[in-house]
């Protein structure tokens, strides 16, 4: 079995947008129209987006909550 440290980097899932409805969660069925092809494209785009962050700004900024 692979050690946890060797886990291949992966985007597992994504939820786009906001959910202003305060009584239930919105599920975006529009993505059913893009199918598995859409999963591949969006996975690649998000992975690239996360991995190719621009150079860090000169000072630590707000926004990161980890």
């Amino acid at each position: 079995m692979k050690s946890p440290a060797a886990e291949r980097p992966r985007v597992l899932s994504v939820r786009f947008g906001f959910n202003p409805n305060s009584s239930s969660l919105g599920i975006d069925i529009s993505f059913l129209l893009v199918g598995l092809g859409g999963v591949s494209v969006i996975t690649a785009a998000l992975s690239a987006w996360l991995s190719a962050a621009p150079p860090p700004p000169p000072s630590p900024g707000g926004g990161a909550a980890s």
Binding site: A5, L12, R15, F16, G26, D28, P56
Partner: protein
Amino acid sequence: MKFAGLRRRLSAISGARVRTESWGGIVHLRRPAALVYVNRGLLRALGHPEDPLWASPTPGTAHRAPVELHWTLSRRCDQKCAHCYTNSLPQAPAFDPADAERVADALSAAGVFQVALGGGEPLAEPGILIVARALRARGILPSTTTSGAPVTPDLARRLGDFAQINVSIDAVGPAYAAARGHDRFAMADAAVRRLQAAGVRVGINAVLTRHTFDALPALLDYARERRVSEVELLRLKPTGRGRATYLEDRLEPAQAAALLPTVLEAARRRRLRVKLDCSLAPFVYQHAPDPRVLKFFRIHGCEAGDSLGSLDAEGRLSGCSFLEPVAGDAVSVLTRTWSTDPELARLRGYRDAAPDPCRTCPALALCNGGCRAVSVHLTGDPHRPDPECPRVRTHAEGSARDDR
């Protein structure tokens, strides 16, 4: 140092925030607005330090805190809509905005990313701008839904802290009055235009009933014409004033079965983004879409007590707005006992001990049993399968035949 590097790197990606989970974590991007679930390997690749939650070789699936919180500021509203799920009234107690900073601190400490402020009529609450500002200051994105009544041009210009505001419009023209019990479509339409003019991202919320179902194409045409960001279609809930006429107003089984193909075709033709609320998930799964697509885009059913929590006007916490509050102080549950509270654990663990016919349903892991609010109304038990799910209905009909 490594941690500081991650902070700089993520904040450089359009103000992203990250929260660790046992499987890895959630990255909240501002642009594009998205919650991206990633594994531990990806967070490590981004430079995230090892987290104690990652110690187990077999990560769990439950969230350690809500990702999204629904916060009812009051049940005060003068619209008297026929199916109001909170039974809102012109006079009702409201959240004290003096408490906004304390609650916002707790939500921030818990790692909540988005908060939907509800009511009543949330935009009529004098404290809502204070609450929204307190959330924004902590990187939490507030949103809300309004009838449109309080939205003057001046108020619309002061709503810049909101990530999105939806206007409740169940149908257009005379069908609006039939659905809501009063004719205020023009008021709602004016609110859409004022919010858009002020630069607010605007969507539409529409409750589906058997009486409004046929008016759906006209509503989607209107949404397209107004160029709103999305339409969210909601299942009628048997709570509040909606309880009294629920059986006469709920979708007919044939309408529920036609919902997904009808909406997908309408969305495709109009190039419109359409959401269904989580309680409608069983009517999506009945068409057996590719589970990989469902999973990747988080087209899930009930997430009560897992990624979703709710705070009521009295400050009590529950797994979802329709469910009874759990015991204990809300802040304490949010920040310390979300994972161990027995009632919340039972809600998210439905899939682990599901009765028939959920137990053998291929969609169980995503669906988690349908809508608990419908279950409790129709069976008296929130932990029974949603009786309106087509699979559950078929199972019940079969059992009834066997009994005869």
